[in-house]
């Protein structure tokens, strides 16, 4: 099959390693998260002496397919992709595996012929965020804000949050319909609001929900900007501390909010690591080396919880990495 075929090609490259491999990193959209990943990929490329192309598809599935096809046409040696819809993208992922080398990052496609997955489990990260919320808020009304729900990682993250908040036994296969409120264990999850990445809309969502549910005790923004905007709205309405916030990702004002004490904490992934490891792995493949791939096929880069104690250090490190990535030449 395709995995074996890829492995065979890698093995063949042991005798004729590529001098300067050309590898690509493809995100699932455009976001700061991915610019950090890009910094990691470029840093790795510079360190390892390989050419790196980074693509951000801005227009969803069709755009991602087009970019992958074009990268294949360009003759790229290996691609690390964050598939938007892993279940249904088998053909294009197979295409990449057939003509190039495929690994996945951020969201996995276990059924696809990928050589490795780099990332964390979004359900686990959601659980962390849920637990964080549970610690900081004993009960009451909870609102969830998320960019959109159709991507797999969003669904898993939300489910993890719900299960963590309500203290359920973890089960990644569980799915609560977003339409209905959930009342359980002293909490009422009043709803999940999406905005299709329109920030003005995202902000309006938060404002409107605060009006609709004046007794709201806690909210969470599961995409980076959802948390940032929640901080923004809380500050503008003077509700800091009245409504608690469990954050996700590393928005500047979220970190500031943690330091100021009205944000419980935030769960951060390591996009820099995704980018860096993707390039490192693909580069090794091009030299015929598969030793870095764990037996499970999953290279786990776990999420972290940032609280008041480690906020400052985390922020400094992040800034330095982004700066380094930006100074790197594009190729």
């Amino acid at each position: 099959d395709l995995v074996e075929a890829q492995k065979a090609r890698i093995a063949a490259m042991k005798s004729a390693p590529k001098a300067k491999p050309h590898v690509a990193f493809v995100s699932n959209g455009v976001a700061d998260f991915w610019t950090i990943a890009k910094a990691g990929a470029i840093a790795a490329g510079r360190e390892l002496g390989c050419q790196v192309t980074v693509e951000f598809p801005g227009g969803g599935l069709g755009d991602q397919k087009r970019m992958l096809e074009d990268l294949v046409a360009r003759g790229i040696d290996g691609i690390s992709v964050s598939p938007i819809d892993p279940v249904n993208q088998s053909d294009v992922l197979s295409l990449v595996a057939e003509k190039s080398l495929l690994i996945t990052n951020d969201s996995d496609a276990p059924k696809a012929p990928r050589l490795c997955y780099i990332g964390m489990d979004n359900y686990e990260a959601g659980l962390m965020c849920g637990k964080l919320a549970r610690e900081g808020c004993a009960g009451g009304e909870v609102a969830i804000f998320i960019g959109r729900l159709e991507q797999d990682n969003a669904k898993r993250r939300r489910q993890g949050f719900i299960d963590g908040l309500l203290g359920r036994t973890p089960d990644a296969a569980r799915y609560d319909e977003p339409g209905k409120p959930i009342t359980e264990a002293g909490y009422t999850i009043v709803g999940t609001w999406t905005d299709s990445f329109d920030r003005a809309k995202a902000k309006a969502n938060i404002e409107d929900v605060l009006i609709k549910h004046p007794k709201l005790a806690l909210m969470t923004g599961l995409f980076e900007y959802n948390s940032s905007l929640a901080v923004e709205v809380l500050k503008q309405t003077g509700m800091q501390g009245k409504v608690m916030l469990a954050g996700f990702d590393e928005g500047a004002d979220v970190i500031q909010g943690i330091k100021d004490g009205f944000v419980l904490g935030t769960v951060v992934q390591d996009p820099y690591g995704y980018g860096f490891e993707s390039v490192r792995l693909l580069n090794a493949f091009c030299k015929g080396d598969m030793s870095m791939v764990p037996a499970s096929g999953i290279l786990s880069i776990p999420a972290r919880v940032i609280r008041k104690d480690n906020a400052e250090g985390f922020w400094k490190e992040l800034k330095a990495r982004i700066k380094a990535g930006k100074e790197a030449p594009a190729k």
């Binding site: 959209g29 455009v30 976001a31 700061d32 991915w34 610019t35 890009k38 951000f56 801005g58 977003p178 339409g179 709803g191 609001w193 999406t194 905005d195 990445f197 329109d198 920030r199 003005a200 809309k201 902000k203 309006a204 969502n205 404002e207 409107d208 929900v209 605060l210 009006i211 609709k212 549910h213 004046p214 900007y225 940032s228 905007l229 923004e232 503008q236 309405t237 928005g251 500047a252 004002d253 500031q256 982004i322 930006k326």
Partner: protein, 325 residues
């Protein structure tokens, strides 16, 4: 005035439904939010209507909002410009964009749709490239500048204060209304929009007027973009302002502007902008699924304008019958 009754009717209907069936619609805080958002989109819609009056269209509004908006924190935070330089620079840049459109349209006689569609792509591309796809925000600083959008002026009511964005909106709307109805240039703009050759034969500098309209539109969009980002605090260049041109044009058209040019009602445009925003909020306060947002807005507008048209016809027919022997 009569033409505005239709959109006023739609707006009131939505408000009534939202306040009866929705939670806390008629609270000061909600009304304050609605004012703010209507003002922001209203500014864009006023700009769109100026271009629509000339019989043109500006699809680049959303991208100009993005580029202008993103530039503000980019210049302030990343490049450490002074706010006193940033605001004029961004406004001047926006006006230049409009000038560029206007010249291509009047000198090269390119179709407005095409020129501004290229603009839509171009300015967003520039914004993305300039920032490296990194979202730009004020990082908790510059509150004194952001007060341009975030300040609230108490008016003696308990929960309701007037958002600062209302000031530019009212000024612009009043200026535009006076311009269109009471000044020679406004009249010439109306004439140019409906029958350009008649205007030209009457010695009116139509090219300059049309160019001016595009300048105004982009300037309004740039101002709107600035206020938007002051309001939101940060934005991502790849999606900030997406589709805002459609909201702006829709507001203008709902407010009685004809895309064939020569017609505009400032009050109507403001009502149109407000209707769209109230609708969006109503959906949340009514507890409807946000997946339904688009469907509800589309359906309400369609039903609204159709009903308006049917009522108008009925009235006409009744008037005619009354006049019959």
């Amino acid at each position: 005035m009569k033409k505005n009754l239709g959109i006023l009717g739609i707006l009131l209907a939505v408000c009534v439904v939202a306040s009866i069936f929705g939670d806390n619609f008629l609270t000061g805080y909600n009304l304050q939010n609605l004012t703010q958002r209507s003002a922001l989109f209203g500014i864009l819609a006023l700009g769109a209507s100026v271009v629509i009056v000339t019989g043109g269209i500006d699809l680049s509004i959303g991208s100009v909002v993005c580029l202008a908006g993103i530039s503000v924190p980019w210049l302030l935070v990343e490049h450490e410009w002074s706010p006193w330089a940033v605001v004029p620079a961004v406004l001047a840049g926006s006006a230049l964009i409009g000038l560029f459109h206007g010249l291509l349209i009047t000198r090269l006689r390119l179709q407005p749709f095409l020129v501004t569609l290229c603009g839509l792509l171009l300015y967003r591309g520039i914004a993305r490239w300039m920032t490296g796809d990194q979202s730009q925000g004020f990082q908790g600083e510059f509150d004194s500048v952001r007060a341009l959008a975030l300040a609230r002026f108490p008016v003696g009511l308990e929960a309701y204060s007037v958002p600062a964005t209302v000031i530019p909106l009212v000024l612009l709307a009043a200026a535009l209304a006076v311009f269109l109805r009471r000044t020679v240039w406004g009249r010439w703009l109306l004439a140019t929009g409906r029958n350009e050759s008649a205007a030209r034969y009457s010695g009116i500098p139509t090219d300059r007027l049309v160019t001016g309209a595009y300048v105004a539109c982009s300037l309004f969009a740039g101002l709107g973009g600035m206020l938007f980002i002051f309001d939101i605090g940060s934005a991502q260049p790849s999606d900030f302002g997406n589709f805002y041109e459609l909201y702006a044009i829709a507001a203008a058209v709902l407010g009685g502007c004809s895309l064939r040019g020569g017609e505009a009602s400032v009050v109507g445009v403001l009502l149109g902008a407000a209707t769209l925003q109230v609708l969006r909020t109503a959906i949340i306060l009514l507890g409807l699924s946000s997946q339904l947002e688009f469907a509800v807005i589309g359906a309400v507008l369609l039903v609204g304008v159709s009903a308006d048209e049917l009522v108008r016809r009925l009235r006409e027919r009744r008037a005619e019958r009354a006049a019959a022997p």
